[in-house]
Symmetry: C2
Subunit: 300 residues, 2 copies
Amino acid sequence: MRRLSLNQKTTNSWSVREAVDGCVRAGIEAIGLWREPVHEAGVSESAKLVRDAGLRVSSLCRGGFLTAHEGPERRRSIDDNRRAIEEAAELGAPCLVMVVGGLPEPGGSGQPVLPGSAAAMPAASASSPAAERDRDLPGARQRVADGIAELVPYAIERGVQLALEPMHPLYCADRGVLSTLGQALDIAEQHPAEAVGVVVDTFHVWWDPEVERQIARAAGRISSFQVCDWITPFPGDALLSRGMMGDGHIDFRYFRRLVEQAGYDGDIEVEIFHADIWAADPDTVVAQMKQRYTAHVLER
Amino acid sequence: MRRLSLNQKTTNSWSVREAVDGCVRAGIEAIGLWREPVHEAGVSESAKLVRDAGLRVSSLCRGGFLTAHEGPERRRSIDDNRRAIEEAAELGAPCLVMVVGGLPEPGGSGQPVLPGSAAAMPAASASSPAAERDRDLPGARQRVADGIAELVPYAIERGVQLALEPMHPLYCADRGVLSTLGQALDIAEQHPAEAVGVVVDTFHVWWDPEVERQIARAAGRISSFQVCDWITPFPGDALLSRGMMGDGHIDFRYFRRLVEQAGYDGDIEVEIFHADIWAADPDTVVAQMKQRYTAHVLER
């Protein structure tokens, strides 16, 4: 139980203060923070809340969105990632989770949309003629690698590891063009391990026929291990399709053993995006999370 | 335009006779058939309809569903695949598309559910305690390889190529545990090329960072090239999420060139599952398909 970390998204309605208090009540020792609620509370105040409660910060979500072509939007994104690195350092987060972005929107704003926020996903198909679409996926992936390379010196300076998160191919078009652990490692290995690592999130990687080999390859570069389940039937909203451990098809013990064999002994973060879980009482969700963690993630 | 093939699913409301007539009206020379409407029309009668109209059959969908553990359900599936091979031979289809099945359902019936049919997806989460779930994905994948090996002699005897279809990882849990072209080729290469090939369906493989290398590797084993688009926002029904070419994010010319560089010069099948397209007038859909094929798949 000492390695269990509550990712703030799992209790989406809680502020930083509420989430910190909830962890303390439940005896949870680590928390994964998100930038938006941290900004609402203030970065210094959030750092103090976590520190005073004696919690570890397991990660900060999220930087990234590096697929825009060179220009003002890309510069804004690089600048925002620098701020995110500073925030991670101030919060004592060992890593900044990088959601690298989808194919560039035609005339896109460059502002990532937070699931669960008031703004909806940009509806590219409605707003632009098909002919204007940027469909160059290899190009977008190259710009991610370039953006990471540009951020690495500052990440090293501030002592924050950039944690590349391969995302389920479901999100390739509009959220994350890094689709496999192998692909994330191809980028990470161009840099020192303390500067760039990878996130192993069961929801994103469980289907990958190469996953066993790639987790072994990731030894020394696993920044974060996150768990949530793949549930069926697939929920209508692709961004809110992640289930509580045990409600779906993923063998969590198998993945925990794989990351441990690769030398990872850090926190195990539970990060769930699901409308019903977000609507439930957060203390009840935390209690269920602890029970399911014991039943499905730990050894029997 | 001579390589364009109408997969029957694109005009889901049409019978075999109606689809054949629709192809003739539109000047389309090839058709991809599905077993259910072929059974409704009769296999011999369907073969005659296609032959008399002067059409080629580009593929027959579908065999597969080979993930059940040994027992009566698995035997029924193997028997059904033998019948599907016979039907493909009688219809003059060069290949039988294999949708290999998802993780075994606890107490599952073994009957694959056809999208668009009256029966809904089996709701595993509602019908069974989580503890009974079979979460052994590597095991399910091995049973697919074993099932293919068992079917190969009969496929050779009847002159039908089994076409392994890697499916988007979205479907890994409940429909197809083969998730990448590389994984499909690992199985196919255990057998003669005339017995086992692979389907390159843009919707299923477009996100794969290995796709260029794997399509090259598939030279001589590409059974079928299918096109439809990945659209966003992701539609609510995962089985009806495929879009018309040009409505989404896939660069079709890029994939057509890749399969051609690998020596494929066969039919290009358009297979779309989408509620709006199924609800539209089929002749209108076929006309739009021809226009989009010219605009997005062929060279400019």
